[in-house]
């Protein structure tokens, strides 16, 4: 197998390297990729959509269909992880608890448990977890700032690098950081499974719903200038606002999917003990 792989790699690699002869030079302004569509985007998008960040304008307006189905792909990946891994009925398991004031750990076999609201005991993961006061405190201070930054990245995507995908991933990462620094149960208490599933669908629905609204008003699907009559704006500003609405939808969907995939994969579908 190794020999066959090596032969395939050498052949296809050699072919690709031979083909680089015809490729344009590094950072050539006259390369074919920057001659046909990109001049239009660079010159016209400011007057057509009033969005200075060209990447956002192309992402959500000129290539709106592409991005809508990318969001759907991400949603499908989240659903696929859920369908593959989630186990609803649990076999009785051993649980470990730590007595908070003395630090003594106890091991209860065969599904026995101490009530979750007990003030004297806290549940710990099966793998040995020492006290980690520094990590927990630092993460608890950091997470609100990370979330604030994520909201800034989503909302300011028109004028600076950012947008729905980036901000959504940062938002998701803040909840995943909570799950890593504390444990999965703390994170799912804040953001339970039903809420994640609902947010995931809501994000895709906001995107597709904006498109359908444009269709109902009487223009093409995802032609945001139709929103002018709803938002009482001129058509160009309406495009800018349509892009913002769509980016918020993308952000919600991406955030929920990242957390959903993490929860399912890290706990192998049991939602009990994560990483």
């Amino acid at each position: 197998m190794r020999m066959i792989a090596l032969i395939i790699i050498v052949l296809s690699g050699g072919l690709l390297l031979y083909a680089t002869q015809d490729f344009p030079q590094w950072a050539d302004p006259a390369s074919p990729a920057s001659l046909h569509l990109s001049p239009h985007y660079i010159q016209k998008s400011m007057e057509e959509t009033s969005v200075p960040n060209l990447v956002t304008a192309v992402l959500a307006d000129y290539r709106g269909f592409d991005t809508m189905f990318e969001t759907t792909v991400i949603f499908c990946a989240g659903v696929a992880c859920f369908m593959l891994l989630r186990i609803s009925r649990q076999t009785p398991e051993d649980r470990y608890y730590r007595h908070i004031s003395t630090g003594v750990t106890i091991h209860i076999k065969d599904g026995g448990k101490i009530p979750d609201k007990s003030k004297e005991f806290e549940r710990i993961d099966t793998m040995w977890t020492p006290f980690d006061l520094v990590i927990k405190t630092v993460c608890r201070f950091l997470i609100p700032f990370i979330q604030l930054f994520a909201l800034y990245v989503i909302a300011h995507g028109h004028h600076s690098p950012g947008g729905g995908f980036q901000g959504g991933v940062i938002l998701g990462a803040s909840i995943i950081l909570l799950a890593i620094s504390h444990n999965l149960r703390t994170a799912t208490k804040r953001m339970n499974e039903k809420l994640i599933g609902l947010l995931c669908v809501t994000g895709v629905f906001i995107y597709a719903g904006t498109g359908a609204l444009c269709l109902l008003i009487g223009l093409n699907f995802l032609d945001y200038s139709a929103l002018a009559s709803v938002l009482f704006l001129d058509p160009v500003s309406a495009r800018s606002f349509g892009i913002l609405i769509v980016e918020i939808g993308v952000g919600i969907a991406v955030m929920a999917t990242m957390i959903w995939i993490y929860n399912n994969v890290s706990s192998a579908g049991k939602y009990d003990e994560g990483l």
């Binding site: 197998m1 590094w26 302004p29 920057s34 660079i42 991005t67 004028h159 690098p161």
Partner: protein
């Protein structure tokens, strides 16, 4: 040999991503462990992302955000926009979505690997094949 070095240096960006792509492809074909195959898939995707981003570059150009003052965000820009002044936004758009989708596919691949491990108690490919054949 003296011809080869300028040939490589002139297009070194393509050489880098082709090397990365071939490393990923080799891992996907030859490695025995399923997680190593998934890592190979991710290296392959990274190579493609680098390729697209390097296509978008232009010498002497800046990021694709039109320079604007506070007031003129809506509608007209006072100065004319130079095409050579901004890099090509299209590859960045494509890769922006591709990065997030690659994370999502990584999640699905890991979920499948967990299912395989639960059934066969191993991630080595040859041992799984032996178990399926009933040896």
């Amino acid at each position: 040999m003296s011809d080869l070095i300028p040939f490589i240096v002139a297009k070194y960006n393509y050489w880098i991503y082709i090397t990365l792509m071939m490393i990923g492809l080799y891992a996907m074909i030859a490695k025995n462990n399923l997680v190593k195959k998934i890592v190979g898939m991710n290296i392959f995707q990274t190579a493609i992302i680098l390729f697209y981003v390097s296509i978008g570059a232009k010498k002497g150009a800046t990021i694709p955000i039109i320079e604007h003052a506070h007031g003129d965000a809506h509608g007209a820009v006072s100065h004319t926009i130079e095409i050579a002044h901004y890099i090509n936004p299209l590859p960045h758009v494509l890769m922006l979505t591709a990065i997030v989708v690659s994370v999502a596919t990584l999640g699905v691949a890991l979920a499948l690997a967990i299912k395989v491990y639960n059934r066969h108690k191993t991630l080595e490919e040859d041992e799984i094949i032996d178990q399926i054949k009933g040896i």
